[in-house]
């Protein structure tokens, strides 16, 4: 029995893109002198890293295995 980690880089990238785009627009609206491209790129990179190396969400079976029990039981 082995624990397999499934990573989600595409979801992370899209999440980062949305957050970066929203943050870039906010900075424009509040007249903050930061390049929107930098904010957007940072969002994409952080989202990708989040999807690849973010804290692992443990599924029910993994938790059950830790407890020595089966969720199907």
């Amino acid at each position: 029995m082995a624990v397999v980690v499934k990573r989600r880089p595409v979801r992370g990238l899209i999440a980062g893109l949305l957050i970066g785009l929203g943050a870039a627009v906010m900075l424009v609206l509040y007249d903050v002198n930061v390049s929107g491209d930098v904010v957007l790129a940072a969002g994409v990179v952080l989202g990708l890293v989040w999807g690849l190396f973010g804290p692992t969400r443990r599924m029910a079976r993994a938790r059950a295995a830790d407890q020595g029990d089966s969720p199907d039981a």
Partner: protein
Amino acid sequence: MRRQATTVFLGALLLGLVAPVAHAAEAEGCAGEAASSTEDGTALDTAQAPGEGGTLEDPLQVEWNGPIAWSGTTDVVLQDGTTSVVLAPSSGGVVLGAVFEAASGRLFGGDFANSEGDTEREGTTTLANYSLGVPLMTGTYSVDLSMTAAAGSCVGLGYLTIVDNPVTSVLWWAAAALILAGLLLAVFARPTARVRR
């Protein structure tokens, strides 16, 4: 008729925003001035081209619902031409700049006739005229104007700051929705662990 009036207004208004700073294009083929006020009529800011105001360092301050008195002249009679007006965030970068360029081109650009053959125009309007009164955005933007006709052309570049409360703008809510959607998606973007037997 309304589209012609809109085009002529924008041309004259933006002539008043042509920036005299080194990194702004010089006014070519035209000149003008603009004076903005708050919604209750208090004088806010002025800009002239050539002259002071309307630069990145000293952008023309405007309120979305505040009246803007404008006047402008062209060196020659411009008739039956096209106007291009491009608004872009002064610090938005390439991506946001492209989005704003496409949107503002649809909102403000178009053809003009000037069948009267005028070289001088003046009037008063508000930015709200172009958005059913709802503030679309706040912040500082570059305004790139180009009027082209068979007899000549007019080009200019200036800057304005829309000083309304950002929360009242449509874009603020759109940006907030994007951030919320991104955060929600991020929850489901975390790696998951499964037991393989």
